[in-house]
Amino acid sequence: MQVNETGAFVPTVVAFCCNWCSYAGADLSGTNRLQYPSNIKIIRVPCSCRVNPMFILRAFQRGADGVILCGCHPGDCHYTTGNYYTRRRMTLLFSMLDYLGIERERTRVEWVSAAEGQKFAETMKSFAAEIAALGPNRRLEDLRCRK
């Protein structure tokens, strides 16, 4: 668990972004110098549908406190239907997390287009704040993975 100089909890957040919309949206918020917290780290994937729910669980196991998955808006997928699969798979993952008693707020799905730099930054800010409020992920972290 990371803390800042004032002792406040700084969550680790993994953001999966599809190459065509959300990753470009993230680039745009960079180009426009829109700030969001540095504890968010982006992993580029070709499409949101490339993200196996397993990757999300893996992130929690390795100590992530929140995972956000961003893709093109429904109907705009570069691969036509990829984000529809994402939407269904994530719905299933959410119900599984519910079943296991794990806060579903730790995982979020957002549609961010390549033009929505502002939305990207806002989303990241709000998500990071939400996770910080939730506190560290204790349920899914595998302590054996801790360095």
Binding site: T12, S38, R50, Y79
Partner: protein, 663 residues
């Protein structure tokens, strides 16, 4: 042990101002496997690239991480540089420390820390990269155009002019499509046949074009550059190679009461017929539903009068198999059926007609030789009411939600032409909005309303009641004057919405091309790739992609041809090597992957496996066609056994990144 090089870019001060680049290079230099780690003001400059190339050669690097701007910016630059130094270009990974770090953070310490983490993630990934080579596939230099309306005709002519052979497959006995049925065309009012039929003849005479009329595509396999299509040539009972189109058989045929579909059933044709005088190919067809000879073996008159022996009652369907590099969908549209709108009494009264029927009634080659007469009694109508948006801009239950786009203009055309030819006629147009965006379109509509005295009324028609005296009582509301109207009309013309050809959906499935909820084909990008379908090698032309008038159809058709020519000009296609692949030993042949693949890139093979006990077992396994796969990765997640993986974004690579970030 792999040897990696890390190169940290300052991007002038873009990165260096907020990220301590030296500290990043130093920290990443301490990672195992990294043998060289350095920074430079502009990595993308020639000297920066030389620095990378020299390091690759000097240290025989197996992989390279570049901490710089977004990979969307310079991934290709650095891949090329690596390739020039003899390293596989796919052994390069980029950590985006500009757009996703220096530009969005102000605190130098924080930004530096994040840059190091991003660098570590890229190192973790590149350690699992594998050298990839983009596959190459040959291109069959021939195009298939499905649909022979003005869209298909224009596309085929342009492709043929560029020197490539084209086949036009048209389901009807002649090419020409809907435009052949039109009378005059807005906004210039030139006659449709005068501008269309020369193009149809050009098609017939162009040695690069083969017209396969009265034929349908049955099956398409393959992928961009390498399609194979099965085309059914339906029996027309007339030998196309012999028939001269003299028309003698059509005059002698004793079966005279066959509804003529070209005139929308408003007059009759014979059982053996040529659809219209300028049909291409000008070849007769025998309609098996009406021909006495085909139905009960009695007659044979046409065969007796045919001087060239073209009649062949024993003709059967044949199936052609052809190879193509590109396929164009140009299947056009149909007006919707209007009998469902009971309020307009289309089914009750012969004098309620559709706009397309109106075109035939005013056409010199139509059932009335161009004199506008009421279908019921053949009298000249004195009051005509046009109703716009019949089934367009409706609720989904009642019709189409979209605007059919052409109706405002052709209704203005009809109204204007009527007033010009029959100045004693009163013409009313009921509209929701008049939509006339287009060159010279609004001027055209205003001429109809202002110069030709057409009564345009904003409002809806509630009911059309046929009356005993043969007139039609049109009950409507005028929304501007806020009053109820009764108009005693002789003829009511419905501007029916248009919808894609009924065959389009089956075709889209065959082509793995996508469609919208209205069954219009969708383009690869609504703005930037408007004439391509998302499936490589499939192109879109004309109304099958969305409602359009002729000028727009023709420009799109030519744009489409340009794209096809671009593809056919290539000798080889290089693919994206970041595609899916399946581990045959792990695959259990369940077909989950194939069912989520939007491109139909996955097929199944029966493969022999040598088992540990030396026996041979045959199993069904998935096989990905790398030329078709676009690398989205949907299949990798659908695969229950974990057999499917994606080159360049493999499960282990992504998880290594996750691990590096969460450390």
């Amino acid at each position: 042990m792999q040897k990696l090089g890390v190169f940290v870019c300052h991007c002038g001060t873009n990165i260096a101002a907020t990220v301590d680049v030296k500290a990043v290079a130093e920290a990443l230099g301490r990672e195992p496997s990294v043998v060289v780690s350095t920074d430079y003001p502009y990595m993308c400059s020639e000297s920066g690239q030389n620095l990378i190339k020299d390091a690759i050669r000097e240290h025989s690097l197996d992989g390279v991480v570049i901490c710089s701007c977004s990979p969307r910016m310079h991934e290709n630059t650095f891949r090329k540089a690596a390739a020039q130094a003899g390293l596989n270009p796919y052994m390069v990974e980029i950590a985006n420390i500009r757009e996703q770090c220096s530009w969005i953070h102000k605190d130098r310490e924080e930004a530096t820390e994040k840059a190091i983490v991003l660098g570590r993630a890229a190192i973790a990934k590149v350690l699992l990269n594998t050298p990839l080579t983009a596959g190459e596939s040959p291109v069959t230099k021939r195009a298939l155009v499905i649909g022979g309306g003005i869209a298909g005709i224009q596309t085929a002519l342009d492709i043929a002019e560029a020197g490539f052979p084209v086949d036009i497959v048209e389901k009807e006995p002649t090419i020409g499509g809907k435009m052949a049925q039109l009378d005059k065309t807005f906004p210039t009012l030139d006659c449709a046949a005068c501008i269309l039929t020369p193009k149809m003849v050009d098609c017939a005479q162009n040695e690069n074009i083969r017209i396969l009329s009265f034929s349908e595509v049955e099956e398409v396999t393959g992928f961009v550059g390498n399609f194979t299509a099965k085309i059914r040539r339906k029996a027309r009972y007339v030998d196309e190679t012999k028939c001269t189109g003299c028309g003698l058989c059509t005059e002698k045929c004793p079966v005279k009461k066959v509804p003529n579909e070209f005139n929308l059933g408003m007059d009759n044709r014979r059982a053996v017929y040529i659809p219209f005088a300028q049909a291409v190919p000008k070849v007769a067809r025998i309609d098996p539903d009406w021909c006495n000879m085909l139905k009960n073996g009695k007659c044979g008159l046409c065969s007796k009068v045919c001087t060239v022996g073209a009649i062949d009652y024993k003709q059967t369907d044949t199936v052609l198999e052809e190879h193509y590099g590109a396929i164009v969908a140009a299947t056009g549209y149909e007006p919707i059926k209007v009998d469902r709108y009971g309020e307009y009494a289309y089914a009750q009264s012969k004098d309620v007609i559709t706009s397309l029927e109106f075109e035939r009634l005013t056409n010199a080659a139509g059932p009335t030789s161009g004199t506008l007469l009421r279908p019921s009694d053949g009298r000249h109508p004195h009051t005509i009411v046009f109703i716009q948006c019949v089934g367009s801009r409706c609720t989904p239950e009642m019709g189409k939600t979209y605007c059919s786009k052409i109706c405002c203009m052709y209704t203005a055309k009809h109204a204007m032409l009527t007033r010009e030819k029959y100045p004693d006629t009163d013409v009313y147009v009921f509209y929701i909005d008049v939509r006339t965006p287009g060159k010279n379109f609004d001027e055209f509509y205003r001429r109809a309303a202002e110069e030709y005295g057409v009564h345009y009324i904003k409002g809806a028609v509630g009911k059309v009641m046929p009356r005993a005296d043969g007139t039609l009582d049109v009950q409507a509301s005028d929304l501007i004057m806020n009053e109820q109207l009764h108009i005693n009309a002789d003829l009511v013309v419905l501007a029916a919405a248009i919808e894609p050809s009924k065959t389009a959906r089956r075709l889209a499935t065959m082509l793995t091309a996508s469609m919208d909820t209205n069954d219009f084909f969708t383009e690869a990008h609504p703005k930037l790739r408007p004439v391509e379908s998302p499936t490589a090698g499939i192109f879109l032309s004309g109304v099958c992609q969305g409602p359009k008038d002729i000028p727009e159809t023709v420009s799109q058709a030519s744009a489409c041809a340009a794209k096809v020519i671009g593809l056919l000009s290539k000798n080889k296609l290089t693919g994206n090597p970041c595609v899916a692949h399946s581990d045959e030993w792990m695959c259990n042949g369940c077909s989950n992957c194939a069912s989520v693949c939007p491109y139909g890139a996955i097929t199944y093979l029966d493969k022999d496996f040598r088992m540990p006990d030396r026996s041979t077992k045959t199993r069904r396994v998935a096989s990905v066609n790398p030329a078709v796969c676009q690398g989205c990765g949907a299949c990798t997640v659908a695969c229950p056994s974990g057999a499917m993986d994606l080159y360049g974004f493999s499960n282990s690579q992504i998880m290594a990144e996750v691990d590096a970030i969460c450390k």
